[in-house]
């Protein structure tokens, strides 16, 4: 499964454990951090539509 994790803020232990717990062998996982300065929004749109599951963490 292709999973996109969007981080709205720096992940804490809860988020890291949830992301880790969602991972299974053969998954393709992408992480995008929105709390960093440079965000390629068009690339993010492509990522959103090319992944099967999107999670926008806190």
């Amino acid at each position: 499964m292709k999973i996109l994790h969007i981080l709205r803020s720096e992940p804490d232990e809860t988020v890291e454990r949830l992301i880790g717990g969602m991972y299974e062998q053969d998954d393709e996982t992408t992480v995008k951090s929105l709390y960093k300065k440079e965000i390629d929004w068009e690339r993010l749109v492509d990522d959103i539509f090319s992944h099967e599951k999107i999670v926008c963490w806190w």
Binding site: M1, T14, R17, L18, I19, G20, G21, M22, E24, K53, I54, V55, C56, W57, W58
Partner: protein
């Protein structure tokens, strides 16, 4: 029917998360609501009523907080189990 997980971690968003869960249930969405890390801060009449309505509408509610399990009838879940539910959902809504 889409399966939706509402994951509530922010104490100030507990009621809003419940409202969103209920609203989604009314449009034939399957709901699993998770209250993580914190006890329900304000178990007032409105929260209680809406929680009972969620139960009647066959929404499911889980928590990793033992007080929520013992006092309010949430099903206990670990973070690892929560992640497994999230993996199986179509839509995940963090609050």
């Amino acid at each position: 029917m889409k399966k939706v997980c509402v994951v509530i971690r922010d104490i100030a968003q507990q009621y809003e998360g419940l409202r969103t869960s209920l609203g989604a249930l009314l449009d034939a969405v399957e709901i699993q609501m998770f209250v993580l890390n914190h006890e329900i801060a304000e178990m007032d009449e409105a929260f209680q009523d809406n929680m009972e309505f969620l139960d009647e509408m066959e929404g499911e509610r889980f928590s990793n907080n033992s007080a929520n399990v013992e006092k309010y009838g949430f099903r206990h879940v670990t973070l690892k189990q929560t992640a497994e539910y999230l993996k199986a959902a179509d839509v995940i809504i963090p609050f």
